[in-house]
Symmetry: C2
Subunit: 346 residues, 2 copies
């Protein structure tokens, strides 16, 4: 259908050749197969127009943390967002008892930076992996993830829709691997295998300050190998690389995952500068120093280069998969008019 | 539901006050009701991430031109996009006969500027207003607009959806008013009244080089008055202003609409510069010179400030209106699996 589409390109640099002025050599008239434009139009201003809209509306980002207690999940999230955003800091007591079953608790904050507002929701899963018998402990988590898809789907099929559907879907699941130095536990494998098709899983090695450089390298390699052997596709998934550039960027990231991280929300003085770190008798681990641990790599990846992509993969892949299954199973969802939203016909 | 959301803000400028370091005056600790962040996170990089995605995918923009023949519709569109993009320049003969009924003809080009690709489709409506009896001549146009909504809706309710639904919906309808200096013709009023709820109508006064400055001012004022008296809401519609800033910007634009324009795809030499213009015995009308006509204002408005908004109003308002009506009338559309797309069950 796009066959025969003519491509018109801006002439980089100088004024384009005038096609109405007669005598010329006919030299550099056509550029790379397409015609050139007779001056500046302003198509690239779309970027600035989109920026303005985003500054006004802001965006949602929802991150889930999963892993046994005591691995520093809350601290890591606080370190990522440079503030007390985790559930534990938001009113819950730090000496809270470990629940007897897996619970799902979420807390939201609006964080503004450079005029851009992000509504951040941290979904915590206390009790995961903390029981004597952890059979099916991924089920409440899987249920929560699907409930958010269902909520979005219901809004999407409504006859009267909101201009922007509130997005509570989990864009990213940080899975905390204990720094055992051995191999993945069966629970780790089960969780990631079962959930990797409904959420973007980013495995991290928690509290990695307990490992030497060699131990870290070796453990990371072993974890990658085990994930591969078990057919677990973590984020960024190879199959969703958009093009060669994506593939090459993401290959580099995949080769260094899972990131071995250390979190801290305490500041220390190092060479006259205040840095986030952990002070021990033998030195200060600066969490944002790439020579000390891989926190900065995780932060850059999660927030500064792949945040939008995490949202898009969630919407275009995980949500679409859920929706297609849901509609196929059900023989079609009927749109719900706003009056019917109380009673669920699903 | 957002009640109690804590707002965390970047500390503009220097390092934020450390909350772990004890003795201080407690001076500028809290900023505007929210807590401050313990350093830079990178939330604002979302803009750059979105820019990169847009550079890769490009975007669709579909513009329709309506008005009697001989008003320079094709030339104006060529002037807007600095190239031969109109139907007339794309293979059709300029001496093509006026059709006996309104026809809908579209032609597409990909235009690239600053690395951003726009797939531009110009939808022309030859024959509109050219008949002896122009009863219902808006109907083929209305039908075309709705067909594009229907196409989009069908894609949207499919069980297996495309990652990006091709957007053929008309984002903007340039309605050409003849520069009579009198009042709007009944056809103009009928067309705009009937179509203004399904498409963004931007009325322009065509070939305005036939008018003196006073005639132009007076005619524009009269047209605005008549549109208002007939309850016609052209784009940007007052009711869709998002906030006070939008309202104030758009009020200024609405007060100077409809723009009195002149088009030209011929270049002339003026003060050593090549400009697009029309040469007459008494001077050269430079179409992009704001002292000569309002072409530059139309171009800035249509392409450089409101293009994204035209797309969003089309999607959020006109398409949603069509969709809600369609679903209400039909008692619900059933999602179509890809096997069924051949037979229409609508």
């Amino acid at each position: 259908k796009n066959k025969g589409l003519q491509v018109l390109k801006a002439n980089s640099g100088a004024h384009p050749p005038a096609h109405s002025a007669g005598h010329g050599h006919g030299g550099s008239h056509s550029s790379s197969g397409g015609s050139t434009l007779l001056g500046y139009i302003g198509i690239d201003t779309i970027i600035e127009q989109m920026r303005k809209k985003t500054m006004k509306t802001g965006f949602d980002f929802n991150i889930m943390v999963v892993g046994p207690s005591g691995l520093g999940k809350s601290t890591l999230v606080n370190t990522l967002f440079k503030s007390q955003v985790s559930r534990k800091s938001a009113g819950w007591a730090r000496d809270e008892k470990i629940p007897k079953t897996v619970e799902i608790k979420s807390v939201s904050h609006v964080i503004e930076e450079g005029g851009v507002k992000m509504k951040l929701t941290i979904v915590d899963t206390p009790g995961f992996g903390d029981q004597i018998n952890n059979d099916n402990c991924w089920e409440p988590i899987s249920k929560y993830i699907n409930e958010q898809f269902e909520k979005f789907l219901k809004e999407e099929v409504n006859i009267t829709r909101k201009k922007r559907i509130p997005d509570t879907r989990v864009h990213c699941c940080l899975y905390f691997i204990p720094p055992t130095g051995h191999c993945l536990r069966q629970l780790d494998v089960e969780f990631m295998r079962r959930l990797s098709h409904s959420v973007n899983i980013i495995p991290v090695i928690a509290k990695s300050d307990t490992m030497t450089i060699e131990e870290r390298q070796e453990f990371k390699q072993r974890v990658r190998k085990e994930l591969e052997n078990n057919g677990i596709e973590f984020y960024p998934q190879k199959e969703f690389d958009d093009d060669m550039e994506d593939k090459s960027d993401n290959d580099k990231i995949r080769e260094t995952m899972p990131f071995a991280v250390v979190g801290s929300d305490k500041e220390h003085q190092v060479n006259g500068k205040r840095v986030l770190g952990r002070k021990t008798a033998w030195g200060i681990i600066e969490v944002e120093n790439p020579n000390h641990c891989e926190f900065a790599q995780l932060r850059d990846f999660l927030i500064r280069s792949h945040l939008q992509d995490l949202k898009e993969v969630t919407h275009n892949i995980h949500y679409e998969t859920y929706r297609a299954k849901r509609l196929n199973d059900n023989g079609g969802l009927h749109p719900i008019s706003s009056n019917d939203t109380q009673e669920s016909n699903l």
